[in-house]
Symmetry: C3
Subunit: 138 residues, 3 copies
């Protein structure tokens, strides 16, 4: 069994941002040399998500509006977590979107349906953040 | 290490449907010959989910009502994604229910608690859809 | 390839409770002797979650309030699942929080960002419950 680990670092300029990281994850897979196995990709931050969906800007706007409806950022006082922080909403938004994805590796490729793309979703950004890729297989 | 891959195809007649795929996933596991490992089962479509819960029709009605409350199908104009499409709600519903499950394989069986069953949940159906099963182990 | 399986049992006194199980999962990893691989940790009950987030009591209160807003416990009659049961809400709350986490194992440790902690979240407790840990790797 082979295993491979790499961190992907991203600069997040805004509080909330979605970034397509599919090609970076593919680069990791290629570098690993693993042909058959499982790939885990997860946010290393607890106000952020890694998820799979469509790379379509309208949909990303819908995600933003919908998450803001489910767990509004303001007023900050609505969350008990916001004693010293103001990111209570970000923890909840990340929960809806999920922390991680597990992807099949087949024939050295991400074994995806036609529209599947991997995104990093950050809900408390404005700094550098990192994503873990771990692959096991042969 | 052994690995196994198979697609499960299902005909989805309605826009939204939940299908118990547990026995089909078990068939994959048996065919794989893998006794100890991890099994990934994921929707290959981005308007659909694979999830684990109870096989109880009342609960499935509750899921339908609840998801329709969280992300209503209509009016279609409420989603920016719905320029050429009408499935914005389906992307959000799938997000709540999740894309994939990872199941332990122990002694050649799905290592489940007493009520765990695997479902495919489709939110933009009326056509053939497919589900990926990938198993690694020994 | 090595594999390891263990159940963690917890006594849940209240209907809803969050328990930090990180150290118990770390104990499993140590006992397994696995240094590189993937670790699956999942609820074996369908009204419960395993999730990763911050160990901060204000946030856990926020989760409680937020989930109760998204899927209220009462009136019990609001859920069709509640014919013989009263836990319809618990199935929905678990869906939001997720059934499982998959964690990278690197150098014999849970490969976590600085604030990641693993929790068991129960939404229909008042009895003993169990959590599955399955690890594969080398």
């Amino acid at each position: 069994m082979k295993s491979f680990r790499k961190e992907i670092w991203v600069d997040i300029e805004k509080r909330r941002e979605f970034i397509n990281i599919t090609s970076k994850v593919q680069d990791c897979l290629e570098e690993s040399g693993i042909k058959e196995g499982l790939l885990l990709c997860n946010a290393m931050h607890i106000t952020a998500s890694v998820f799979i969906n469509d790379d379509e800007s309208g949909l990303h706007h819908d995600f933003e509006d919908w998450l803001e409806g489910l767990a509004p950022e303001k007023p900050y006082s609505r969350y008990r977590h916001n004693g010293y922080e103001d990111n209570g909403d970000a923890h909840l938004k990340r929960t809806v979107m999920g922390r991680e994805v597990v992807v099949a590796v087949t024939d050295g490729k991400l074994d995806f349906g036609p529209w599947e793309q991997i995104f990093y979703g950050e809900f408390d950004g404005k700094r550098r953040k990192r994503i873990l890729v771990k692959i096991i297989g042969e």
